[in-house]
């Protein structure tokens, strides 16, 4: 039956059903609800470490605790609904959610990725939000992988890459929601396990956030029809990918964005009329999970009649209808008085809707078909499965010494880094996503006359408010120390946000890990989660939503452990947003922050095929003082352009500013950079955290330096005319120059 329920839980079920056999509908529903994908057993369960201590719930002990202790008034709803919600302006709130859709994308890249986008959009609709922006972060195997290297059942990275990108573009573009932020990462460790993160941001009037299903309200199922596509999506997602995964293609849903577009219109009209008492999307587990969760949330029960569900195929078995994950469906609870109007709105928007059930006091979920009861379960039983215990082995990172000769020509190294697949321009992908639709995109993913890579995007969601939403991400899977990897991802998401002027930053976590049954995976997961608590707290950025995707295993082994942190900040006036393109000749160029010899996991060492040295560490206090001062300088209009230092360090960041600019270049002197580094190449390519490169007007320099006094910063050069491109004096005073055209050619590939 493809239940994917453990033996232990099977025994527990046997006890529960002691005097009758369960029906197939019941068993299937239990399997979906208790799956790792839906219930997050590992994050909610116990973890026993190798020193014998027990952590009760990673989620509560670390991630939610940080949010609780930070106790921000502007957090409206965290970790309890389809999406996290924070306060915005003029009575509005911003909702955000990020999901993964890895397994489906590995099997059917186009449909898998497209339905990933569709699903996360419905998460926003599921909190009554109007979707205003999409994000996507994608990790693939190297595109030049040879076919001979691929075991059976693993599709070629290029096939997956093309399909995923087309899928994401088609859904977002068709829905008319701009795709504004993201990243693409290539690494061998993703060849068997593609990673597809899809995020959505929405806006809603605060008082429209209604989740108050009452007894006797009707359950209205609206949107696409229910079919055999997407059967067992969640149980499939909670298992390892094997050679036979191809046979599970039917677990991947079929995308139809036009249906969701109409659905969105109808939902927003129903919201604006305050006509429904509750809403949730149909995602993992389909109708079974949506109906159960909605009833359970309001301490009610629900009776559902499967014969009322519109079907794609007439001969579907009741259990198939009940758990199908067909796309573009939402479930609403509607008071009797409003039912007629709600159905009318659906009809006006060409959306099929059907009253499939009614909420009652029972506390049970009952499913009928042809007047027979085919499922009758206690909701408290259903939502309290036996706890899972995992074992964690503390990871140890063996120390290593970096062993590379100092290159003579730094210019050559910069060019090589700029053309590295993980750094070079993603323009050919970004332009296939509409990032301008809705006319609200202020800072674009590619900004400046010459379209350089922005640190974060800025959206202006309300016509009558200058306030903007700032969207950024931090992802750093190459750092080999899981604790500092997580810390760096959080700090990077914040840093990127601040670089354009974002503040009051909320963050979202998305873990993609290998099987939790492997103690090493649990060991690294535990470290990463510890860092999430430590740095969310220390950097004053609460988590508002998150999701974990475990069991990312393929015939090629575990996925590279990847944590995506999405940052959602605000900027009081979008006209003050700072971009990375250079503005005026002769302006001063500063570096803020301290550069240390922290190259382990860096783009530079990876390029050299080496490992060693120290991983970048974060001094939270310093980081907060730097970002706080930078915001101050931005608000005083002192900062004319700004870019964060991340992959490829100072060398790549300075080059990217030149790339974004038509007629100006940068001249810098490494001897002036605040640092503890004695080699020019290490200084130029170190990936120490909490650093920015900033352009400041001559007149503003004094005030700027005043703001940063006491912090590590230095004027390292100036903006020059474009004849120079990028000019770098190294620690010995030798000057390395790159022309504008060679920089652009290396980065763009043309």
């Amino acid at each position: 039956m493809g239940l994917n329920i453990s033996l232990e839980r099977m025994r527990y079920l046997k006890q529960y059903f002691n005097n009758r056999p369960p029906t197939d509908v019941e068993l299937q529903m239990i399997a979906q609800t208790w799956s790792e994908h839906c219930f997050h057993n590992v994050f909610k369960g116990d973890v026993v470490t190798d020193d014998g201590s027990v952590v009760r719930s990673l989620l509560k002990t670390y991630i939610m605790r940080a949010t609780r202790e930070l106790n921000k008034k502007w957090c409206i709803s965290v970790f309890e609904d389809n999406a996290g919600i924070v306060d915005f302006d003029k009575g509005y709130a911003v909702a955000a959610k990020v999901e993964t859709h890895n397994h489906p994308s590995a099997v059917e890249p186009f449909g898998g990725a497209a339905t990933g986008v569709g699903g996360v959009i419905r998460d926003i609709l599921g909190v009554w939000g109007e979707p205003i922006a999409l994000t996507d972060v994608l990790c693939f195997g190297p595109l030049e992988t040879r076919y001979e290297e691929l075991p059976p059942g693993v599709k070629h990275p290029r096939y997956i890459y093309r399909g995923v990108i087309a899928g994401i573009g088609s859904y977002g573009n068709n829905m008319g929601i701009p795709t504004v932020s993201g990243a693409i990462i290539f690494d061998k460790a993703y060849t068997g396990n593609v990673v597809v993160y899809c995020g959505c941001i929405g806006i809603l009037p605060k008082d429209a956030y209604v989740k108050d299903t009452k007894e006797n309200d009707f359950a209205v199922l609206a949107g696409g029809r229910t079919g055999r596509d997407g059967i067992h999506g969640v149980t499939f997602a909670s298992a390892e990918l094997t050679e036979e995964a191809e046979e599970l293609r039917s677990a991947v849903q079929i995308p139809n964005p036009i249906v969701e577009e109409r659905l969105r219109r109808a939902i927003l009209r129903i919201r604006d009329g305050r006509l429904a008492s509750g809403i949730t999307d149909l995602g993992g587990g389909g109708l079974s999970c949506a109906a159960g969760e909605m009833a359970h949330r309001s301490n009610l029960g629900v009776d559902v009649d499967l014969d009322k569900v519109f079907l794609k195929a007439p001969d579907m078995a009741p259990w198939e209808t009940w758990i199908s994950e067909s796309q573009e469906r939402m479930l609403l609870s509607v008071p009797e008085n409003n039912l007629e109007r709600v159905l009318e709105i659906f009809s006006e928007e060409d959306v099929e809707a059907s009253v499939v059930g009614r909420f009652i006091k029972s506390g049970r979920i009952r499913v009928f078909t042809k007047r027979r009861v085919v499922c009758d379960l206690d909701l408290n039983f259903l939502f309290n499965p036996p706890k899972v215990t995992s074992k964690a082995r503390t990871p140890r990172l063996p120390p290593a010494v970096i062993n590379i000769a100092e290159p003579r020509d730094l210019a050559e190294e910069i060019l090589e880094l700029l053309s590295d697949p993980n750094i070079r321009s993603k323009e050919d992908v970004i332009r296939t996503y509409d990032h301008e639709v809705r006319g609200c995109t202020v800072v674009k993913p590619l900004h400046g006359e010459e379209a350089g890579p922005s640190d974060a995007s800025v959206i202006k969601p309300l016509k009558d408010s200058w306030m903007g939403v700032v969207v950024s991400c931090g992802v750093n899977p190459f750092c080999p120390d899981p604790y500092w990897m997580a810390a760096a991802s959080i700090e990077e998401a914040i840093r990127n946000n601040v670089a354009v002027g974002g503040r009051r930053i909320a963050i979202l976590d998305n873990f993609v890990w290998g099987s939790p049954e492997d103690e090493n995976n649990m060991g690294t997961l535990l470290k990463a989660v510890e860092a999430c608590y430590d740095f969310s707290k220390a950097l004053d950025a609460p988590f508002i939503s998150g999701k974990d995707s475990l069991y990312n295993e393929s015939p090629l082994g575990s996925v590279r452990s990847t944590l995506l942190i999405t940052g959602i900040g605000v900027i009081p006036d979008v006209r003050r947003a700072v971009t990375l393109s250079l503005k005026n000749k002769d302006d001063s160029v500063y570096v803020i922050g301290l550069t240390r010899e922290e190259l382990r996991g860096s783009a530079y060492l990876r390029l050299k095929g080496k490992d060693g040295g120290e991983v970048p560490k974060i001094e939270a206090k310093l980081s907060r003082m730097i970002t706080g001062s930078l915001i101050k300088a931005i608000d005083e209009k002192l900062v004319l352009s700004c870019h964060d230092l991340s992959e490829g360090g100072l060398g790549v960041a300075a080059a990217e500013m030149v790339i974004a600019t038509r007629n100006l270049g940068i001249k810098i002197d490494l001897r002036k950079v605040p640092s503890e580094v004695s080699r020019s190449d290490y200084l130029l390519f170190s990936e120490s955290a909490s650093r920015f490169i900033v352009e400041v007007n001559k007149d503003g320099s004094r005030r700027f330096e005043e703001i940063f006094s006491g912090l590590p910063f230095s004027r390292i050069g100036e903006v020059v005319n474009s004849k120079t491109g990028l000019s770098i004096a190294d620690l010995n005073g030798r000057v390395h120059t790159l022309s504008m055209s060679e920089i652009k050619k290396a980065w763009r590939g043309y």
Binding site: R431, D434, R438, T579
Partner: protein, 263 residues
């Protein structure tokens, strides 16, 4: 007519998605603008409006061909009303998917409805969706949509489409467009010189770099670029130290308002 009394109708159907920002642009200039779903038209009359906009989006998912299904449904439902509307020299603007609809319905380049369209908007030469800012040059400033612009003026404006390659049925059809001065906008280099098909300045491979055309009388215009996305200065992709107040796309709407005064 006082533009405050003029009424505009932004039509939509399932898959339309640029209606709201188009409405915002028109209302910003004082035109009362309603977004009307095709399903609501039984209760509304097109004759109540002076301007109809077919906005951008993916009507009917762009299945078959971009704009094909909506184009046919417009004809089936609204043909007579639209013909009258056009004859009265009221204004119709098609943006992006709206342009595709006008082409598929045979409303452009003719002055009424043509059974055999002589133009098409085919798949981009790059064979993919393209979202980018381009430069377009005003070729004809004597239309209601360009009357506040100078001839030869260059506008900075974004496009976002997969099917925008303007084609004519024949060389002769192109010559006719030229002869009738129906070519309104052409893609150009940043300095205003002809793009001559050069990618990405001509982003889709359009014949003769054509970005927008009008009917012979000029009261119907279709354009692939999105003026509503270049309406405010803060929408521009680069603004130095702070954004200007206005974007170039506003000029299209300002021209419309100017014309509505004389209707």
């Amino acid at each position: 007519m006082d533009p405050g009394k003029a009424r505009a109708c932004v039509l939509r159907t399932g898959g339309t998605n640029c209606d709201l920002e188009t409405q915002i642009a028109l209302e910003e200039l004082g035109v009362r603008t309603e977004i009307v779903h095709m399903n609501q038209l039984e209760k509304k009359r097109l004759s109540d409006y002076q301007l109809i906009v077919f906005p951008g989006g993916f009507s009917y998912g762009d299945y078959v061909r971009a704009g094909a299904v909506w184009g046919k449904s417009v004809l089936a439902k609204l043909r007579l009303e639209l013909e009258k509307f056009i004859e009265e020299e009221k204004l119709i603007l098609g943006i992006c998917n709206g342009f595709q609809v006008l082409a598929e319905a045979g409303i452009l380049p003719g002055d009424g409805v043509s059974e055999t369209p002589s133009i098409a908007l085919a798949n981009n030469s790059s064979a993919k969706y393209e979202c980018r800012w381009v430069w377009i040059r005003v070729e004809n400033n004597e239309t209601p949509f360009t009357m506040t612009m100078k001839r030869g003026e260059v506008l900075r404006i974004p496009i976002g489409h997969a099917e925008g390659r303007f084609l004519t049925r024949s060389e002769e059809a192109l010559e006719e467009l030229k002869r009738n001065r129906q070519i309104v906008f052409r893609y150009v280099l940043p300095n205003g010189d002809d793009a001559n098909g050069l990618y990405p300045y001509n982003p889709n491979g359009s014949t003769h770099d054509i970005a927008g055309i009008c009917s012979k009388k000029g009261n119907v215009m279709g354009m692939m670029p999105h003026p509503e996305r270049a309406f405010f200065g803060w929408q521009l992709p680069e603004w130095g130290e702070s954004p200007p107040e206005k974007g170039d796309g506003r000029k299209v709407f300002e021209s419309i308002v100017n014309r509505l005064k004389h209707l």
